[in-house]
C-alpha cells in the first residue's frame, strides 16, 4: 500500500527578475512510496531531489500535478499541519535546525507545537532520545555536540512528533565519516525496528545501496528506479548523467569490460572481495 504518492508533479521556481524564464525544477514526476519502505532518492546537485523532498510535507506545493500523503492532498491548507506531523523533514545542516539550546528542550519543540500534554511530551522526548542513542546527552548544550550527534538530536526532534515517515534531505552531507555512520545506523534502525517509512535524499552511492529501493533523478525527471542491485547495473547510463556507482560495482564493471568473467550487480566490499577471490583462484 502506498503511503506517499506523487502524481505527475511539476514545479517552477518563480522568475527572479522580469524577462527571466521561470525555472522548471520538476518535470512530470510520479512516484509511489509504500508504508515501511526505505527509499533512497539519488541525484546530483540541481536534479530536483531536494525540491521533491519538500513536496512530501507540504513545504512546497506542486505547480502541476498532485502529492498525496496517506491519501491526504498536500494542496489542502487545512491538512498542512497533520501532514507535517506525519512526515518529518530532516535538513542538511544540523546547526540550523536546532531551536533550543538544550538537547531535550529542542527535542520537545515539535510535540510542544502540537499541543501534546506535558507528561506525554516528557515520555516522547525520553523515548526519542533513547531511539537515537542520545539519552545521556539529554541535558547537554546542543552546540557542544559533534555534527553526527547534532543530526541525531535533529532526528529525535522529528521522531518525538511520532511521524509515520521521515524524509531526510542529505542528512550526512556536512558530517565526518564517523558522523555519517552514526546517522546511517540510526536511520536504518528507525526503518527496521520502528517501521518508519524512510525517504533518504543523498548523493552518496554507498548510502543509497542500503535502501530497499533507489530512485535516481536527473534534471527534474526520474531516470531510473528499482532495487539497488538493478539500478547500479546501469553503469553506462549513470555515467552519462555524471553519476557515480559504488566503488566495488565500478571495479568489477571495469574488470568485466576488460574481459574477465565476474558477476554483475555487485554492491559492497564483501561481495567484491568474494568475486575477486573466485577470479584469482581460476
Amino acid at each position: 500500500m502506498e503511503y506517499l504518492k506523487a502524481e505527475h508533479v511539476s514545479f517552477f521556481y518563480d522568475a527572479a527578475e522580469e524577462g527571466e524564464q521561470a525555472q522548471q525544477v520538476l518535470r512530470d514526476v510520479s512516484m509511489e512510496i509504500g508504508k515501511g519502505e526505505f527509499v533512497a532518492l539519488l541525484g546530483h546537485n540541481g536534479s530536483g531531489k531536494s525540491t521533491m523532498a519538500k513536496h512530501f510535507n507540504a513545504m512546497l506545493l506542486p505547480s502541476g500535478g498532485r502529492v498525496y500523503v496517506d491519501k491526504m492532498d498536500t494542496m489542502d491548507e487545512n491538512l498542512k499541519y497533520e501532514i507535517r506531523r506525519r512526515v518529518g523533514l530532516v535538513l542538511q545542516n544540523p546547526d540550523n535546525q536546532l531551536v533550543a539550546s538544550i538537547v531535550e528542550e529542542d527535542v520537545a519543540f515539535g510535540p510542544e507545537n502540537l499541543g501534546v500534554p506535558p507528561a506525554e511530551i516528557r515520555r516522547r522526548v525520553d523515548a526519542a532520545l533513547e531511539t537515537v542513542g542520545m539519552s545521556e546527552y539529554a541535558s547537554h548544550s546542543a552546540h557542544k555536540l559533534s555534527g553526527g550527534q547534532k543530526q541525531r538530536v535533529a532526528i529525535a526532534g522529528i521522531i518525538a512528533m511520532e511521524p509515520d515517515c521521515i524524509v531526510l534531505d542529505e542528512p550526512t552531507a556536512m558530517l565526518d565519516p564517523r558522523g555519517r555512520t552514526e546517522v546511517m545506523e540510526t536511520i536504518r534502525r528507525l526503518n527496521r525496528e520502528h517501521g518508519i517509512t524512510v525517504v533518504l535524499i543523498t548523493h552518496y552511492m554507498d548510502e543509497a545501496v542500503q535502501a530497499d529501493r533507489v530512485i535516481v533523478m536527473d534534471s527534474g525527471e526520474i531516470l531510473l528506479e528499482g532495487a539497488p542491485r538493478e539500478v547500479f547495473s546501469h553503469v553506462e547510463l549513470l555515467r552519462q548523467h555524471s553519476l557515480d556507482v559504488p566503488q566495488a560495482t565500478e571495479l568489477l564493471y571495469r574488470l568485466g569490460k576488460a574481459g574477465c568473467t565476474v558477476p554483475e550487480g555487485v554492491l559492497n566490499e564483501e561481495e567484491c572481495v568474494a568475486a575477486l577471490e573466485l577470479l584469482l583462484n581460476e
Binding site: 510535507n57 513545504m59 499541519y81 507535517r84 506531523r85 518529518g88 523533514l89 535538513l91 545542516n93 546547526d95 540550523n96 535546525q97 536546532l98 531551536v99 533550543a100 539550546s101 538544550i102 531535550e104 528542550e105 520537545a108 519543540f109 515539535g110 510535540p111 510542544e112 507545537n113 502540537l114 499541543g115 501534546v116 500534554p117 506535558p118 511530551i121 516528557r122 522526548v125 541535558s139 547537554h140 548544550s141 546542543a142 552546540h143 535533529a154 526532534g157 522529528i158 512528533m161
Partner: protein, 270 residues
C-alpha cells in the same frame, strides 16, 4: 579570544540556585540590581556584595567562569570608574593641571566599580544557572499581563530563545571567518581606531550573509516541526515554585530590608 565571551551561557547543574524557579530568579535579580544602586554607604554595600558572593557560591559554578564574564566588560568598568574619579566633593587629594581628585571622587570611583561588577555577577548567576528555555519561559509568564496591550509576548520570548541558542554558533562562526580572513592576509591588529574598525568589515559582511541563510533554514526547520506561533502550544517543563523559592525570597527580602535600613539610618557617603 572571542570564545571567552560567556554572555548568555548556561552551565547545567543541580545546585540550589539551579533548582530555583526561573521567575523568582529573574525578579530577585531585578530587585538586587535596583538595591545595588540604592546602597549608598559601606554597610549597605557590603551586604549587597555579600549577597552576590553567596549567590555565586551556591550556584556551584567555578569562580573562573565568573571572572571570564567580567573580562569582557573590564574596559567599561575601568572607564566609568576613572571618569567618576574626577567628580565629587570633599578635600582635594591631588591637583594636577585642570584635574582635581577629591575624596568624594575616590568613593564614587570605588562604588561605581563595585556596582557594575556586582551587576554583571548577579546577571551571570542568573544566566549561568537558568537554561535559556526556562529563562524565556519565565519572561513569557512575567510579561503575560502585557498581552492586554497587544504586546506579542510569545513572539518576543521565542526570539530570545533563538537569539540565545545562536550566540555560541555565531561566535564560533566569527572566529572561523576571522581566521579565514587572516589566512588571506587581513590585518586586524595594527593601525588606528578607524583602520581597525574598517578591518571588521570583511568579517561582518560574511557573518551577516551567513546569518540570513541560517535564519531562512531555521524558519523552514521550525515550520517542518509544525510551529505556528504561541496559540495552542504546550510546554514540556512547567515552572513551579517550591519551598526553596520561598526561602530564597525570604532571605533576599531580609537582605533588602537590611540595605534599606542601612540607607535610611546611616549617613550617605555621597
Amino acid at each position: 579570544m572571542i570564545r571567552d565571551i560567556t554572555l548568555g551561557q548556561y552551565f547545567p547543574g543541580k545546585s540550589l540556585v539551579h533548582r530555583m524557579d526561573a521567575r523568582v530568579k529573574i525578579v530577585l535579580t531585578f530587585v538586587f540590581i535596583i538595591f545595588i544602586f540604592i546602597a549608598n554607604n559601606l554597610p549597605a554595600m557590603l551586604l549587597m556584595v555579600g549577597m552576590v558572593l553567596c549567590a555565586m557560591l551556591l550556584s556551584g559554578i567555578s569562580v573562573r567562569q565568573y571572572l571570564k564574564s567580567l573580562k569582557a566588560v573590564i574596559i567599561v568598568v575601568a572607564l566609568t570608574s576613572v571618569l567618576n574619579l574626577f567628580y565629587g566633593s570633599g578635600d582635594i587629594l591631588v591637583q594636577w593641571g585642570f584635574l582635581t581628585i577629591r575624596t568624594g571622587g575616590v568613593i564614587n570611583c570605588i562604588f561605581i566599580a563595585v556596582r557594575i561588577i556586582s551587576l554583571i555577577l548577579f546577571s551571570s548567576v542568573l544566566t549561568f544557572t537558568t537554561s535559556p528555555t526556562d529563562l524565556t519561559d519565565a519572561l513569557e509568564r512575567i510579561m503575560k499581563p502585557l498581552k492586554v496591550f497587544h504586546v506579542k509576548v510569545h513572539e518576543i520570548a521565542m526570539m530570545m530563545t533563538i537569539a540565545l541558542r545562536f550566540v555560541p554558533t555565531l561566535l564560533e562562526e566569527t572566529d572561523k571567518i576571522m581566521s579565514a580572513q587572516k589566512a588571506r592576509g587581513a590585518d586586524m591588529e595594527s593601525g588606528g581606531a578607524i583602520q581597525r574598525a574598517k578591518a571588521l568589515i570583511p568579517i561582518l559582511i560574511p557573518l551577516f550573509v551567513s546569518s540570513f541563510r541560517r535564519a531562512y533554514e531555521l524558519a523552514m526547520a521550525m515550520e517542518c516541526r509544525c510551529y505556528r506561533g504561541g496559540e495552542g502550544r504546550t510546554k514540556m517543563k512547567s515552572l513551579h515554585m517550591t519551598a526553596l523559592d520561598g526561602w530564597a525570597v525570604a532571605i533576599s527580602s531580609a537582605a533588602c530590608v537590611g540595605v534599606a535600613l542601612c540607607v535610611a539610618l546611616l549617613p550617605s557617603l555621597f
